[in-house]
């Protein structure tokens, strides 16, 4: 039986792009289905009834949801390019950073940028603190994964590209070379990687989308 791999995604979603990056790094052939998040398809609602979100990976009819769960699944199902280190301790550290990025960094960036008034100030203080932890974790490595891109780099995709687009859309400054030289270098290495480049949305389109979607609210600088 031929293998069937479907990915339900949304062009502006960093979460959905994470999965695309992973599938491409593994050389997995897949069919991409673009979802209009304002008008979700019956298939999406069938495959992800609880969260009703993208991305959803459907492998031979079996749905997997939540981007980090999907990344682990991809890593375990298809051999070849390792998304996680082999050593259990290094793996635990990689998983720690992936969790930190989603639970703390991204949450703080969202709140600082377009959260409720009362949450914004605290979040704005947290963002540089959290980015600093990532800056320190990079040390002298090219990528969080070492010489090559790994799961942590993929999960940090938001920081590499979406933050830049957001900064352009609203003239704000979150990630500067002065404050975060290593993270800035990493950003360039990451977005210029051949596979990653293919998996990124068009920059101008994303900037316009962000302006349109979040421009109405007071955006902090």
């Amino acid at each position: 039986m031929a293998e069937e791999v479907l990915l339900f995604g949304a062009w502006a979603s960093p979460y959905s792009h994470r999965v695309e990056m992973a599938l491409k790094l593994k050389g997995v052939e897949y069919k991409y289905v673009e979802e209009d998040l304002a008008n979700k398809s019956p298939s999406l609602l069938k495959y992800n009834p609880i969260h009703k979100k993208v991305p959803v990976l459907v492998h031979n009819g079996n749905p997997i949801v939540e981007s980090q769960v999907i990344l682990e699944y991809i890593n375990e199902t298809w051999p070849g390019y390792p998304l996680l280190p082999k050593d259990p301790y290094e793996r635990a550290i990689a998983r720690f950073w992936a969790k930190f990025i989603d639970d703390k960094c991204l949450l703080a960036i969202f709140k600082a940028s377009w959260g409720e008034e009362k949450e914004r100030e605290k979040a704005a203080e947290e963002v540089p603190e959290f980015l600093n932890h990532l800056e320190n974790e990079l040390k002298e490595k090219r990528f969080f994964g070492g010489e090559s891109i790994g799961m942590v780099d993929i999960v940090a995709n938001f920081i590499s590209f979406w933050v830049g687009a957001f900064e352009e859309a609203f003239g704000s400054e979150l990630l500067t070379r002065e404050k975060f030289p290593k993270l800035t270098n990493w950003t360039h290495q990451f977005v210029n990687n051949t596979v990653v480049k293919e998996s990124l949305p068009p920059r101008d389109k994303l900037v316009a989308y962000l302006r349109n979607r979040f421009g109405g609210r007071n955006v902090s600088k």
């Binding site: 939540e66 682990e72 699944y73 259990p88 998983r95 969790k99």
Partner: protein
Amino acid sequence: MAKSDVKLLGAWSSPFVMRARIALNIKSVDYEYQEENWLVSKSELLLKSNPIHKKVPVLIHADNPMCESLIIVQYIDEVWSSGPSILPSDPYDRATARFWSAYIDDKWFPSMIAFFWGQEEDAKKAAIAQMEEGLVLLEEAFGKCSKGKAFFGGDRIGFLDIAFGCFLGSLRVTEKAGGIELLSETKTPSLSKWAERFSSDIAVKELISDTDKLAEFGKKLQAKMTANN
């Protein structure tokens, strides 16, 4: 492994610490346990080993510290590979177990927190409703994951059993505090029976805390947090 090679920093009241301890028990790992009296003060070792979050559990193995309960459980499963498996072997079953653990941590447990810290009746009622909704989903998930066997993990306790079972104590405290039944033979028949099996399992038994003791601790925690605000 020499006992001192494996050290766990924990707190008796923490369901997250319980996860790590259950995993170590399943693998019959000899370890040194250090109780952190975190309401009063955090030890040097804790602050050094988990500088970002400053929380328990922290597993220190051969001087390598790691944190986040489910990450620790996966590490234990991978390192002590000769012991009974904690995560399922099939990647899809693994993804299912991870999905539900993430659901429990990101959606279900926060409703329990919302109940405890909620000031108004409405907020508390909404939190309970969310918990009940979650339990219905988990009852269904149990059916699918267990495939007719005793635990989410099959014949033996696995990852999802650990991820969810650690909250049984807090669940009982919530039931008492709210004067409600969350896990019951009528509402959640499978989970009800599973809860009994889980709590009496040899890897779990000794770690179960008395409900009243937990409730008392919860009150102390509430008092301290309110005082700090």
